[in-house]
Symmetry: none
Subunit: 156 residues, 2 copies
DNA sequence: TCTCAATATATGGTATATCATGGGATTTTT
DNA sequence: AAAAATCCCATGATATACCATATATTGAGA
């Protein structure tokens, strides 16, 4: 897995009538040396779209493949949901992608989309929903400061 | 195993009176440099058709052959069933395949087929059945959030 | 610190290419 | 000879590529 690339910052862009949005240029440069597309899917737990490089999903596919769990049930469930939903979104020379109806609906996005960096991934939110969610998250963190455990290999 | 090919997304295509279906173009490009056919077989656990590249089945055969795994006996049985059922389905210049009666019946497909990406594999469902199955899976995931953790990365 | 020019990025609109699908012609199978 | 499978062409819908304009960001000079 390539290191030193992180989706960061929060950027607000317009969605036109055809569903086109400019992918923030910072995000584009992350992918550029590999390809000209990004992968998006409906978040399983939030009303937003999630995005990442195909590289990340490819790694997931590999790990599953090599775990000798070709027939495992849990793998089955999750791979169905993630790969079944994920789709490549190529961006043209002007840097736009065309989000599908399904994705836009899931995130309640119509005119405006907010890109929120999340490290190896990013999310796309409806502006109002993101404002609320961010407030909620900040509040939660203040209340019970969670530990960022490194031994357990969880960084989220 | 070749990198960077993933069956993704969910695509709905028609099955015409002759039994022809367009293999989604994204799926075709995955196979194109190798061949012009895809392998399909009846899913062992769901009322759907499964598809993959011949390459993947080849890898499966190899893995079983070289496995010292204690449970490989079970894997062996399952593999037998798959190889007994699997068949190559060539697609023509317009990208269509003709699924067999046996497969269509197993998945209860008549007019419409839904292609569901699954990483290195994909599935073909009856539309109603897939809708139900997807709902079920999403529900299950929401109830008891399983972790898809591999070497510190989270994919969900 | 401010202003203005230069550059990069975002957005709107239009032309072009691609894909799914229907139908007919040709070949193969039984 | 009949049935089935394969191939090939035509078409409408839709996504993609491209060009043009607007907006924002950056940097230099005062």
């Amino acid at each position: 897995m390539r290191k030193n690339f992180l989706f960061m910052d929060t950027i607000t862009n317009k969605v036109d009538t055809k569903g086109r949005v400019s992918l923030p240029s910072d995000y584009r440069t992350i992918v550029k040396d590999l390809s000209t597309e990004i992968v998006c899917y409906r978040s399983l737990f939030s009303p937003c779209i999630e995005g990442c490089t195909e590289e990340l999903l490819d790694k997931l596919a590999n790990d599953i493949e090599n775990s000798l769990d070709f027939f495992s049930q849990t793998q089955d469930t999750l791979t169905n949901l993630i790969f079944g939903d994920a789709k490549r979104f190529p961006f043209d020379s002007t840097g736009r992608i065309m989000l599908s109806e399904k994705l836009l609906k899931h995130a309640s996005i119509s005119n405006t989309a907010v890109f929120v960096g999340k490290g190896r991934k990013f999310q796309i939110w409806n502006p109002q929903n993101w404002a609320k969610e961010e407030a909620r998250l900040r509040n939660e963190v203040l209340k019970n400061r969670p530990s960022l455990k490194y031994e357990g290999e969880r960084y989220d």
